[in-house]
């Protein structure tokens, strides 16, 4: 049994999935809500027996360059848990060269992971150690994944790993086609499902994950590669900027009414 701190919003799919997987596996699990919620940062350093073995960052509210080290320091100055960093969030990349915030102790216990499959109810994870991750920490993380009964794939540390990168770029392409008036979102999704057998249309899929999250993955790719190829198309940024984030806000490429999973096509 391990002690696990989840840093994320309790209502978020990722946090919820980890919470139930951890519970089922018999781990002790505690959720820390958003960093803005100052109460959630322990005031007094925790007792040794209360310290976590793993800190899993589920939500990008925690991905700020300052809040995570602050949180870890607040826990304890001597104890260093293994940190799993979500690779689908702002600055969601473990070893970017301008990472000033992690000291070597933290980096040696840092592993990036992608929980994108959780949005489709698939218990699959991709993960990547940094170039400086301690092999022992990596082995422990693998054991954790095994105990959670998730299928885990080890990848080399790469911005966006595999699925987040491929999917965000598919969404970006579909969004550019919408923006250029090539076809309607409905027709684009239908075409990709029937013409090439995709499990979901990329735009409905993006609505499920969140347009903000898609933009964050693309931002990470732009920041790391400095390539035009990865820039999010204007439409995605405008949607993210105006709160059309998809299912969670009731509108994205489609409009969602009543039941959050019920998809209603926009009349436009």
């Amino acid at each position: 049994m391990s002690k696990i701190f989840l840093l994320g919003k309790p209502q978020d799919v990722i946090t919820q999935t980890f919470f139930s997987l951890c519970r089922t596996a018999g781990h002790q699990v505690h959720i820390y809500d958003d960093i803005d919620d100052v109460e959630s940062i322990p005031e007094e350093p925790l007792e040794a027996h209360e310290l976590p073995d793993f800190v899993i960052i589920c939500h990008h509210g925690w991905m700020d360059y300052h809040s995570l080290p602050e949180f870890l320091e607040a826990l304890s100055e001597e104890h260093h848990p293994i940190v799993l960093l979500s690779g689908i969030s702002t600055s969601g990349y473990a070893t970017t060269y301008d990472t000033p915030f992690f000291d070597r102790e933290v980096i040696s216990r840092l592993i990036m992971y992608s929980p994108l499959a959780f949005y489709q109810g698939r218990h699959v994870i991709e993960f990547a150690p940094t170039k400086a991750t301690d092999p022992e920490a990596l082995a422990k993380a693998k054991n954790l994944f095994q105990s959670l009964q998730v299928k885990a794939y080890e990848i080399t540390d790469t911005p966006g790993l595999v699925l987040p990168r491929v999917l965000a770029m598919l969404v970006n392409e579909a969004a550019s086609a919408v923006m250029e008036g090539v076809a309607s979102p409905e027709d684009i999704d239908t075409a990709m499902k029937l013409g090439t057998n995709y499990p979901e249309g990329p735009l409905a899929w993006a609505d499920k994950i969140g347009i903000d999250v898609i933009c964050q993955i693309l931002d990470t790719l732009v920041n790391e590669y400095f390539e035009d190829r990865y820039r999010p198309v204007l439409l995605l940024k405008q949607m993210a900027g105006s709160g059309k984030l998809g299912v969670k806000t009731g509108e994205g490429f489609y409009i969602y009414e009543g039941s959050k999973t019920e998809l209603e096509e926009t009349s436009s």
């Binding site: 080890e154 080399t156 595999v162 491929v166 090539v182 076809a183 075409a191 990709m192 029937l194 979901e200």
Partner: protein
């Protein structure tokens, strides 16, 4: 260029002319005849027409063996489909679908002939998967009666049809083609004439990013395929798909979209594609692509 007449395009399709009895032409002829349309299938040689007929018979026999088609269905296709070596006969239809090889000069020539032969009101369409419908139509006197009608391979199985709206296509034609596509059992989507239309454009990153990940040695091609299937729910991974499509075909599509968009970086081909094509590792058809296939298996 001015319009020949003011005759409106036909609203109800009954007779369908098909130019080119190859993989796609024969397939489109088969499903149209099956759904009760009168089909006139044209090719330039008797042998090619025969080959088209054989393809249709084989496909129908399979459908029957699987219990999906009845003897009545087979008979209906037989009655409804005729073949011809005269383009004029194929042009005397409500809708003509061109399915000759993917070559702009050839397509322009055929559309000029069709435009001259077909009665006013006849709708002319191309099954092209990568050429500009606007450019093809621009070579004729009546570009307003021309649209794209992009079926997918194999035609009897694939549900999708992309209807392509050229710059000068009459909007009424799009509606008529939509009804026709539904009548032959397909789901139509409508796309503006842009490189790759919908599917061949939006699918580009699936291959492009996978190739980049492989090029950077993020992991093996097997793992990339497996992650996309297991984590993403894709039925096939990008490397399996490239092997199936043929690396040469996939590379050609990538290049054509990249060129057509004036070197937009998102569509940039990858050096791995070129090397594999140069090496003759084309996928399943050469028994070796990203994966190795057993030559004894069909």
């Amino acid at each position: 260029m001015s319009k020949k007449t003011d005759t409106p395009p036909v609203e109800t399709i009954k007779r369908v002319g098909i130019v080119g009895a190859g993989t796609m032409g024969a397939g489109i002829g088969q499903i149209s005849a099956l759904k009760g349309f009168q089909v006139v299938l044209f090719d330039i040689k008797e042998d090619f027409l025969k080959r088209g007929r054989t393809q249709i018979e084989t496909s129908l026999a399979k459908g029957k063996a699987r219990g999906k088609l009845t003897d009545d269905d087979l008979q209906r296709v037989n009655e409804n489909l005729i073949t011809t070596l005269k383009l004029k006969e194929t042009a005397q239809c409500d809708l003509v679908i061109e399915a000759v090889p993917e070559n702009m000069a050839l397509k322009k020539e055929i559309f000029q002939e069709l435009d001259a032969l077909a009665p006013d009101g006849t709708i002319l369409s191309s099954n092209t998967s990568s050429l500009s419908v606007t450019e093809i139509a621009g070579a004729t006197k009546n570009p307003d009666r021309i649209a794209g009608l992009h079926f997918f391979n194999p035609v009897p199985l694939m549900k999708l049809v992309e209807i392509i709206r050229g710059e000068r296509t009459d909007p009424r034609i799009i509606e008529t083609l939509k009804v026709f596509a539904q009548a032959v059992g397909k789901t139509p989507v409508i796309a503006k004439d842009t490189p790759g239309f919908i599917v061949n454009r939006v699918a580009r990153p699936f291959y492009g990013e996978a190739l980049r990940l492989l090029g950077e040695q993020a992991t093996s091609h097997e793992t990339i395929d497996e992650v996309l299937k297991e984590a993403g729910g894709f039925k096939m991974g990008p490397f399996e798909l490239m092997d199936l499509i043929g690396l040469d075909v996939n590379f050609a599509v990538t290049q054509s979209v990249y060129e057509a968009y004036f070197h937009e970086p998102r569509y940039k081909p990858h050096i791995i594609q070129r090397r594999m094509v140069d090496a003759g590792l084309l996928g399943r058809k050469t028994n070796q692509g990203f994966y190795t296939y057993d030559s004894k298996k069909a």
